[in-house]
Amino acid sequence: MIHTLRSRAGTRLRELELLITASLLLIVGLGTLIARDGGLVRWADLAIVVAFTGLFVATSFALALRGWGEDQLLLPIAALLSGLGMVLARRLEPDLLARYGSLYGSIALKQVIWVLSGAVLLALISFVPWRMRWLRHYRYTWLACGLLLVAITAVFGVERNGARLWLDLGLFQLQPVEPLKILLVVYLATYLDDRRNLIGSSAYRLGGMRLPPLPYLLPLLIMWGLTAGLIVVQKDLGAALLFFAVFLAMLYLVTGQASYVAAGLLAFGAGAWALYGIFGHVQPRVDAWRDPWADPFGAGYQMVQALYALANGGVAGAGLGFGDPTSVPESHTDFVFAAIGEELGLVGGVGLLLCYALFALEGYRIALRSRDGFQQLLAAGLTTAIVAQALIITAGTTNLIPLTGITLPFVSYGGSSTLVNFMMLGILLRISAANKPPAVL
């Protein structure tokens, strides 16, 4: 027994090395900020570094001892990104306080709590016994939970910035769209996997166009309706875009038909075009995307500020703590990428993108190697959800596509989003475990 454990202890050395690298980034970042503020190191700072490193390293070590052979790259990437997120929250807090008042009090401490809770959640998902099969079994429960969440938010939600996205739970405000991401991916994975064999069996024809068979058409229509509903009721364009992208990606994986994706995109485009005319909140986004300089103090203000921040960053950036990132509204959540671009420069921004690219490569590799169709779809869906979210917001804040508000996974400040991202990571790790005993499948 001891012998096996000893032989297993060294199996996750790569992950350990990378985790230590991620901790070094946290230490250097915190050190920069502390040096800028006069060099006073508080006990809390040390506690944060120790807790952060300790939690991740302990998780890694425990995974090694159990020896299921999980993937070794995803955890360090998440640690790196969330460490960067904590540093940024700490860096932005005083500036946000000075500029916008006490509304943004103690976001640094809160983000530390969220990230550490996320790590604990990850450990729980990894070590509390549960079966992959449950996800599949209770599919309609998940779907019902998701729809209920949306309905509750639509009725009881709290409105902020003109969007009704938050549910006030007393202790904290939940953003129901975040758990909805997991629920939806799980449901879609089960649904699409069940109907895998129907590919190309019976195609409907509408005029000259070949339509997908009904089992694909129906959820497609439902998804289309749901996303449109999200836009109309909750005014949450970012989530709608994300859900639709994830759905199309999974549909493509099952069918291998690019034409379905094209049809979906067309439908989305038509819906967006219709909504563009009808709803006031879509139009300014598109106008600001087309030419933010046309109205630099109105609709284009945030974008112009973001572009200015990026321009000020240059190649190497202004340096952590030496820019003025809070001149961009929402710099700690949706626009955190602009803050990174300003203070860490092109190098930091591209580095961050590389992290997400690595995450995608690793996530899809897990999908390729997973043992059944359901797990493959689930892994691909979860990976797509995280990376597509990163894409939507980074491309949005750099004015590549119209801006739709959504958080940058693991980096942005926010409780719901951090926790849910760690949950998704936990499920991905579980799928990647090559040697897991059959009992947990």
Binding site: R99, G101, Y308, A311, V315, G341, L353, L361, T394
Partner: protein, 574 residues
């Protein structure tokens, strides 16, 4: 066939790279996005050709998805490259050139000739017989009546706002808002030029539609400012730094405009009475007709150190509030010139030695600011003066306030003066040739308060006739005088002055205030007392400047006035 595909794919790779490179240089964003899409599609040909041949069907989908995601991330990376490197300078330049859409300037304001912009009245008489019975009213921001026409006679219910509202006198012309917005108030602006010409040539009466003018002044705060100033000659300016709205503009001595107005049918006795009142006003030694708040030009004294410090922080001469600065007792600047000395001997005991910017500002150390001015050098000093709206006596800048007569301050007689080190050092700490108005100093503090953005000050909120809005003032950024980072640091410096320095007595319970005292020597006689302040420091809503002529030390006479005004504005008990 396969070979052909291979060649096409390789060609696509090179073509794609070329298109991307061209796109990076394209100034139009839409064009760039199109280039990006085409270029990435061409780039993807090669990996796609490999993927389709080598992989089994289920893996092919995943591989293609991966390719799409990686290419999309690459697109964001290229966008970063474009925004952060290729077009970064262009973006910075565009931001620097941005102007907020200027409020449509009222014709009346621009049409007034400079000669007419004195508070002594121009003698200009409108040649068209506009019925005075129908002239519009003037109100404060909350609707309190400040001027109206009753039975053909112009009445000013609040007698002591003559410097702002002005007067409409058939003998001495119009002044103040009555003059700049005369066309709107009389309704002449609604007439077509031909109708006006006809009315002028034929002397026929016309039917104007007069409009009411609403000011940004808050009468309650105006009264508080006047009460705080009391009967000391001087002025108080209170404005909202975020918009440039002037909330109170008190000056003493004042005059009652009612005594200069003739009734519709004036008897000879009425005319004689008005003439006597006018004669008395213009003969008084203390110039009651002069609007000291916007036209009184005084040496700035130590309050100008706010400007010097802001310039040093913005230009990088000082790295931050904690930057080290020394405060020696004497500072030799150039041979033959008297050395710079401090107002108090051994000031270094209070500031510490070496000290930092916070403390030399709080204790108003002349020698420290002389050094900072010298470190800035004349070119940068002049540039920052221009940004803050201070010109030269031989090349004055345009006064920022358009709604009533105003003068712009000057930093020196001419640019040559500041080339001498002794002159530059003197100007940097508040002596030399600088002459500024209280409004200039309020704007200086306001720019610091508003993250470095200097807003155009204004007095007239809107002009409307019934439901029709004829003029609507919109906040307008005149210039970004310093970066918001420097402004943030400057606010911290100003706050220290209240926490530990000479400005400490201004403190109010529950509010953070940033401030600077000033004692401007103007021999012969006692110095002028100055005080500028912003509050609350975190999110400044008020900027105030006070001068008490011959008031002695700023902290003794001007500070209590500012404190009372701030207390009234912030709604706290002093």
């Amino acid at each position: 066939m396969d070979r052909l595909r291979q060649i096409v794919a390789w060609l696509g790779l090179f073509l794609g790279l070329a298109i991307l490179a061209l796109g990076l240089l394209a100034p139009d964003a839409m064009q760039w996005r199109l280039h990006l899409l085409t270029g990435l599609w061409l780039l993807s040909l090669l990996p796609r050709a490999h993927v389709s041949r080598r992989l089994p069907p289920p893996a092919r989908g995943v591989a293609r998805l991966t390719l799409v995601v990686v290419l999309a991330l690459g697109a964001v990376g290229l966008q970063l490259l474009r925004e952060q490197v290729v077009w970064a300078d262009a973006t910075r330049e565009r931001v620097a050139l941005l102007r907020q859409p200027a409020a449509a300037a009222p014709d009346a304001a621009t049409a007034v000739r400079p000669a007419d912009r004195t508070s002594l009245g121009s003698g200009r008489v409108w040649p068209v017989e506009a019925g005075t019975a129908t002239r519009g009213a003037i109100r404060d921001r909350n609707g309190v009546l400040l001027a109206e026409t009753r039975d053909g006679r112009r009445v000013y219910p609040l007698a002591d706002l003559g410097h702002i509202v002005g007067f409409q006198s058939r003998l001495y012309g119009n002044t103040g808002v009555e003059a700049t917005f005369d066309d709107e108030l009389s309704g002449a602006s609604t007439l077509s030029p031909t109708a006006l010409l006809e009315a002028r040539l034929l002397g026929t009466p016309f039917d104007p539609r007069p409009a009411d003018v609403r000011l940004t002044i808050d009468v309650e705060l105006q009264k508080a400012a006047q009460a705080a100033l009391g009967e000391q000659p001087g002025a108080v300016v209170l404005l909202d730094p975020r918009s440039g709205e002037i909330l109170a503009l008190a000056t003493y001595p004042r005059f009652d405009p009612n005594q200069l107005v003739l009734p519709e049918r004036a008897s000879e006795a009425d005319v004689a009475q008005v003439q006597a009142a006018w004669q008395a006003l213009i003969e008084r030694q203390d110039s009651p007709l002069l609007n000291r708040a916007t036209q009184g030009r005084y040496p700035p004294g130590s309050v100008i150190k706010t400007f010097t410090a802001a310039a040093a922080l913005d230009s990088g001469v000082l790295s931050g509030p904690e930057a080290q600065v020394t405060c020696p007792n004497r500072l030799e600047t150039e041979a033959g010139a008297p050395p710079v000395v401090n107002a108090v001997e051994n000031l270094a005991r209070r500031t510490g030695d070496p000290s930092d910017l916070r403390r030399v500002y709080a204790w108003s150390c002349n020698t420290a600011f002389a050094q900072i001015g010298l470190a800035l050098g004349p070119e940068r000093f002049i540039e920052y003066a221009r940004r803050f709206g201070l010109g030269f006596a031989d090349a004055p800048s345009e006064p920022p306030l358009r709604d009533i007569a105003a003068d712009a301050g000057t930093i020196a007689g001419s640019a040559e003066f500041l080339q001498r080190p002794a002159a530059l050092a003197d100007t940097a700490f508040g002596q030399g040739q600088a002459l500024v108005t209280p409004l200039d100093m309020a704007l200086m503090a306001a720019a610091v308060a508003n993250n470095g953005a200097l807003m155009r000050p204004y007095l007239v909120q809107e002009v409307r006739a019934g439901d029709e809005v004829r003029y609507q003032a919109r906040p307008e950024v005149l210039r970004q005088v310093i970066t918001s980072q420097a402004a943030l640091q400057m606010r911290a410096v100003m706050q220290t002055s209240v926490e530990v320095g000479y400005a400490a007595p201004v403190a109010l319970p529950g509010v953070t205030i940033g401030a600077k005292t000033g004692t401007a020597e103007a021999p012969p006689g006692a110095p002028h007392a100055w005080f500028v302040a912003i509050a609350p420091v975190e999110q400044p809503r008020f900027a105030v400047a006070v001068i008490v002529e011959r008031g002695g030390e700023g902290s003794r006479t001007a500070l209590p006035v500012a404190r009372q005004v701030l207390a009234a504005a912030l709604g706290v008990q002093p």
